[in-house]
């Protein structure tokens, strides 16, 4: 058989990437809770994210964990991630619009849902404007 397609892997395909990112996120949440006067909740969050980091690091050969965590992340996983992100975004936008409609139908000003919807809409339009020039 001819040559293989060995190439240098990007940093985010390292097995340390997702565990490190999870720990970093846990520390950021700890700092936020701590500055808000709730260090106990922060330590709880850090414990949770440490467990997630350990799961990614010690997750063995699980396709899902390797795909989410980095080392097994190939083009198929990038597609799965893109579709999952789009689905999650659609659910979130639907919720925000629904909540905004509910708020204004009950005589409220619709905040913060109006703001969130506006940010989402503008971000989408900006993304389309930028990405259509690249694709």
């Amino acid at each position: 058989m001819p040559q293989t397609t060995t190439s240098r892997r990007p940093y985010w395909r390292s097995s340390w990437w997702m565990p490190g990112f999870s720990l970093f996120l846990g520390l950021v949440i700890l700092a936020a809770f701590w500055s808000g006067g709730e260090p106990g909740l922060g330590l709880g969050a850090l414990g949770l994210f440490t467990a997630i980091a350990a799961l990614f690091l010690l997750g063995g050969r699980s396709d899902t964990l390797r795909g989410l965590g980095g080392p097994g992340r190939d083009e198929r996983w990038a597609m799965i991630d893109l579709r999952a992100t789009a689905l999650a975004g659609t659910v979130l936008v639907t919720y925000v619009i629904g909540a905004w409609l509910w708020e204004i139908a009950h005589g409220d000003d619709g905040e913060p849902y109006a703001q969130m919807g506006a940010i989402g809409g503008l971000a989408y339009l900006l993304a389309v404007a930028v990405l259509r020039g690249r694709a």
């Binding site: 001819p2 293989t4 397609t5 390797r66 795909g67 190939d74 198929r76």
Partner: protein, 66 residues
């Protein structure tokens, strides 16, 4: 998309894992391509064709695209 990957792989005595490592993708991705659940990108399709010493057209059988 219908393809000849399983035939070529087994004819060469290769495991899915070995082919996956050669292509720098996961074994499940090779499995998904063989089962026609996932259509590979053009770069991966070309890499697979080169690996087996054939062409993309001979390896993948697309329906007519207008």
């Amino acid at each position: 998309m219908r393809n000849e990957i399983r035939n070529l792989r087994t004819a060469g005595g290769l495991s899915q894992q070995a082919l996956a490592e050669a292509m720098d993708v996961s074994r499940q991705t090779i499995n998904s391509i063989e089962k026609e659940r996932y259509t590979p990108s053009l770069p991966l399709a070309i890499a697979l064709a080169r690996y087996f010493g054939t062409t993309v057209e001979e390896m993948f059988h697309a329906a007519n695209h207008n």
